[in-house]
Amino acid sequence: MAASPARIAEVLAGLRAQTARLGAAAEARAVVRGVVATGVTAIDEALGGGLPRGRLTELVGARGSGRLSLTLAALAGGQGRGELVALVDGADALEPAAALDAGVALERLLWVRARTRDEALLAADRVLDAGGFALVVVYLVGAEQRRQRKPLPVPLPVPVPGSPSVRYGNGNGNGNGSGRVWTRLRERAERSRAAVLVVDDAATVGSFAAATLEAVRGGARWVGRGPGRLLDRVDAAVVVSRSKLGPPGARSVVSLSADAKSSSGRR
């Protein structure tokens, strides 16, 4: 019995839809092999499309230079394809409202509230070991150096000269980011095909990182006068200070709007 034209059209439409889905899935898997876009165009371009999967990338900077805001933007970018992301928070510094405002889907973000730097590094190791995350952020800004039951082997990092804007070591003489730790994290990242972003006060990952980004603080802008005065925005710039993925030096200016998170905004 011959099929009716309507039935044939219906089958064809179904086949087209299925082909489109397969194409999208193949595209998503191709993305998995590549990068995680941060959404900051200049940075993504300098890094070849975004944070490289299977590699470590480092983001450092002074206090108030917008590192957490950029981190949340990267996490939101990492979720863009529906994948899971993880934030290993060494200082327990995240405010869920800020993540929500940055566009992060909270239910697809694994948040680990570590109490010390060592805990954060161990937790990152475990998250990468489990696999399945597009982006794992190890946020070590302000993380405490508390003595652990089983301390990690932590020889002092070797300072690398030639980069005046980037300090090596974490500034208090206890270089926690030993080569062994970063080697292990890099191997885990390679195996799980996750992009790893290490956010810290100073560069400690060194040559184990595919690139080092430096956040540079701009100025704060205020609006209004007297009792109605409000924090409007904070400017920052991101500089690729060292990269194995392309020429360093790319710079991107980012304006961080305080419209919702600050106490001014909440009012």
Partner: protein, 534 residues
């Protein structure tokens, strides 16, 4: 009318652990593997008797029934252990788990009794498993028997397996073969014919009578006339003759399902430090998780019970304090031994037992690992099993309530708005379109790096406005500021009210901080730095 299903021929596998006492000790302490080992009856304080001996000890001439000094004279390097009923129970339970992982119809044919045992008693444990309908899972009966043999190995038990039409024939086959023996259907009588009569396990009287008749092989018994055997040897003789002819019908008596997963060990001496306890605990956890894996289950909690040394217990303590029991919750069901061990060890370290510990028991509360099917079109993500294990491992590391998805709670004060929800991501939504390249000036959301807890600060004010801030985390002159912005929360609750004045403050170090002044604090000018805009 429905067609009647063809009845499957009965096939029974018997798993027998020849020396349960030895195997139970080795299961708890793998270092004993390959060593000459004897298990003693410690009921006799003087000259304890050997209840069971390992093959290595038997090779040196040691036999059950000897006193320890005799055995040591034969094998000087002999290792002696006291009989532990807790270990034996765990081993038998593990054997039952193995059977249950193949079939719901299992019968514990024989296990050593709990009460004091005579040295001449057989210390083996025997399990019968109905494997009649496993043809779809295994291509041959040999593979079923081999899988049972390997499964017992994984549980730390050295067993022999026989598979035949009924449990008695299968048991004889297991004993005759030593490793894995399969008796093909209909070939029971020829198989049994060449075996010695002792394998049928006759009583002493019947064995003596058969010896007098000159019957030494099972085949010779089968050839005798049934009526004459029954007349001269009674009911037992008739039963043995039926077995010998391959005509015996011994139905399996399935054991009711008992869902209790417990592993226990009696320590050789009281242990008073948590590190040594953790070491002893590790083996229990390994064995328990192997049993759960047998049943495709996972532990959602474990209860650890420590028996305390009565000599150290304060007599004024309440009655029943000889046991220290604690339940260790697991964030997500898992059978990852490392995770469970870490959680239990953390519990021991945080609250050590009040006296030296003489025995440990670990009971698992079971759950199923999250059943979920990964989508063909979904982006790759961790499997539910791996995710559950990961969360449990992370919780063991950083503490309960510190791992999950961030949750925004309905409150007014910032720290009360923070919560952690269970991390159970739903299937991914449709892929979003690729991010559109933005201009360099496109604003992004400014986030606050929160200080938890808020950092106390000294703030000097001028006409109500902050001018200088001093604290361990930040200090400097105020360049610009906004505020105050008053927040009140829980004013309807007695004792829970919070009233604060918040400020955004740019300091001379270039960063912008969020400060607040607690208006209800007992001390005036109670200032805190809440975080830095980062």
């Amino acid at each position: 009318m429905l067609p009647s299903l063809p009845s499957l021929p009965s096939r029974v596998a018997v798993v027998e652990v020849p020396s349960l006492l030895v195997e139970a000790a080795r299961r708890a302490d793998p270092a004993l593997e390959g060593a000459p080992l004897v298990i003693l009856d410690e009921a006799r304080a003087v000259s304890p008797l050997v209840l069971a001996a390992s093959d290595e000890a038997r090779a040196g001439g040691v036999a059950p029934g000897m006193v320890l000094s005799q055995a040591r004279a034969l094998v000087p390097e002999l290792i002696a252990r006291g009989r532990s009923r807790a270990l034996e129970r765990s081993a038998v339970e593990a054997l039952l788990d193995l059977g249950a992982s193949f079939s719901p119809r299992v019968e514990l044919v024989h296990a050593p009794p709990d009460e004091a045992m005579r040295a001449i008693e057989r210390p083996q444990a025997t399990l019968a498993v109905d494997v009649s309908d496993l043809g779809r899972l295994f291509p041959s009966e040999g593979q079923i028997a081999t899988a049972l043999h390997l499964g017992a190995r994984r549980l730390g038990l050295d067993a022999r397996v026989g598979l035949a039409r009924d449990k008695v024939t299968a048991r004889v086959a297991a004993r005759a073969g030593g490793g894995v023996t399969v008796v093909p259907a209909g070939r029971e009588a020829p198989f049994l014919a060449r075996l010695p009569i002792a394998l049928l396990d006759p009583s002493d009287d019947v064995r003596d009578a058969l010896t007098r008749f000159g019957v030494r092989l099972v085949g010779e018994l089968a050839d005798l006339p049934a009526g004459g055997v029954a007349l001269r040897l009674g009911a037992e003789g008739a039963r043995l003759a039926e077995v010998a002819r391959g005509e015996a019908a011994f139905p399996l008596v399935p054991r009711p399902e008992v869902a209790r997963f417990e592993e226990a060990v009696e320590l050789e001496w009281p242990v008073d430090n948590t590190e040594a306890l953790g070491f002893a605990l590790r083996r229990l956890v390994d064995n328990l998780m192997a049993r759960l894996a047998c049943r495709s289950l996972a532990a959602s909690a474990v209860t650890l019970t420590c028996a305390l040394d009565p000599a150290f217990i304060d007599v004024s303590a309440r009655a029943g304090a000889k046991l220290d029991a604690r339940t260790v919750a697991i964030a997500a069901p898992t059978r990852d031994a490392q995770t469970v061990w870490q959680l239990a060890r953390a519990s021991l370290e945080s609250t050590p037992p009040t006296a030296p510990v003489t025995a440990l028991a670990l009971v698992a509360t079971c759950g199923r690992a999250r059943p979920a099917q990964l989508g063909l079109f979904d982006p790759p993500g961790p499997s539910p099993d791996k995710l559950a294990t990961l969360i449990a491992r992370l919780a063991a590391l950083v503490g309960d309530g510190r791992v999950g998805a961030p949750e925004l709670r309905d409150a007014h004060i910032p720290e009360r708005m923070v919560g952690v929800a269970t991390f159970s991501p739903k299937p991914a939504p449709a892929p979003a379109p690729a991010p559109v390249p933005d201009s360099v000036s496109a604003p992004r959301a400014l986030a606050l790096h929160a200080y938890r807890p808020p950092v106390p600060a000294t703030v000097r004010c001028d006409r109500g406005a902050p001018r200088v801030v001093e604290s361990p985390r930040a200090a400097g002159h105020v360049v610009d500021h906004a505020g105050p912005f008053r927040l009140r929360d829980a004013w309807w609750q007695s004792g829970g009210e919070v009233t604060r004045d918040y400020y955004d403050v740019e300091l001379s170090d270039g960063a912008v901080y969020r400060l607040f002044r607690d208006l209800l604090a007992p001390t005036p000018d109670a200032w805190f730095i809440d975080g830095v805009y980062e």
